[in-house]
Assembly symmetry: C2
Homo-oligomer: 199 residues x 2
């Protein structure tokens, strides 16, 4: 039990609930906020409530958006016949940074994980099937992480998509750009070899 | 520029303003809060505003408190003739954890630092002098950190307190309990030798 007044203690506790923030860090953050002007605290408080109330999932791709269709789904400049399936909204941001993909996305909001009790009903799989069932989709690109759960999820979805007349692909595995062969793990090297391309 | 909706982006920015929180961590924290129930976000938001509005400085010792005299200054069980001067409210918490000191505190809210443009007027020095001037104080213990600025602040205060009939002491320097001689730095060893006690 620290000797802090109750409202300060409560703020420390709230910070300490954040992932990766221990009690010492939480104290530091709470004291930092106490040192800020009233307006800064209120702005932070508003941001917390607004993010939760105003951010919704796009009814089409399930990515986070501020109400209605997300800007990507609403854009006429994107290729509406290709869907890139990702686990997380942050993956959409990563793909967009690469400025290579011009199609649409579908955010699953997780991956299948029997260990964590995440089953197909916990992910945005039905909305993806509905999108594909409507037709007009030529290709679905699986872009889940290349780990056990991401792989399993991609394979599961590929099987579900079989009945539809749609090409299902996935991102290439290989040596990352700027990476060194000597530091690459065996599995990556094996996949890079399997996926070798003609020059 | 990430592709997040504005309210989410705003929350990421607020988290990123915290000390030691980079943009990647801020994203992780913002996404974590989005995954929490509405009630959790509102409670966090309330804690931010309440801490700022309800936490005040004790009119006597300047420690943070929830209005009025702090519990330590108000306690009849403490020795009101001894004042321990610390730089920060967290130092009070540290001292209280040690359960050794039974006097009162005085929180300076910083240390003298010409480099950071912190002068005597930026610290709670006048309130300390007023407390000592009222009499009834037998000893003032300097417990600022044993670094350059903490030392300078302690010496400065000791000089200011000279005119008053009060004993001014400071915490002992030495090898920390559980510490190893071989890992102690030269300055600490020198101070430990200077401050050696008879067994």
């Amino acid at each position: 039990m620290e000797h802090f007044p109750a409202p300060l203690e409560e703020l420390v506790e709230q910070f300490a609930k954040l992932p990766g923030v221990g009690r010492k860090s939480a104290q530091r953050l709470a004291f930092h906020m106490l040192g800020q002007p009233q307006e800064a605290c209120e702005r932070f408080a508003r941001a917390l409530v607004n993010a939760k109330t105003q951010v919704t999932c796009c009814p089409s791709c399930q990515n986070f958006t501020a109400g209605g269709l997300c800007p990507i789904c609403a854009s006429q400049k994107r290729d509406h016949s290709v869907i890139c399936v990702v686990a997380d909204p942050r993956d959409v941001a990563a793909m967009e940074r690469a400025r290579e993909f011009r199609g649409l996305y579908h955010v699953l909001h997780g991956v299948l994980s029997p260990m964590q009790h995440v089953g197909p009903d916990d992910l945005a799989i039905q909305p993806l099937l509905s999108r594909v069932a409507k037709g007009d989709i030529s290709e679905v690109i699986m872009a889940t992480n290349p780990d056990t759960e991401g792989e399993a999820t991609a394979l599961y979805l590929a099987r579900l998509l079989k009945p539809f007349d749609v090409k299902v692909t996935r991102l290439a595995y290989g040596i990352p750009m700027g990476g060194h062969l000597e530091f690459a793990d065996d599995a990556t090297l094996m996949r890079a070899l399997e996926g070798r391309l003609e020059l």
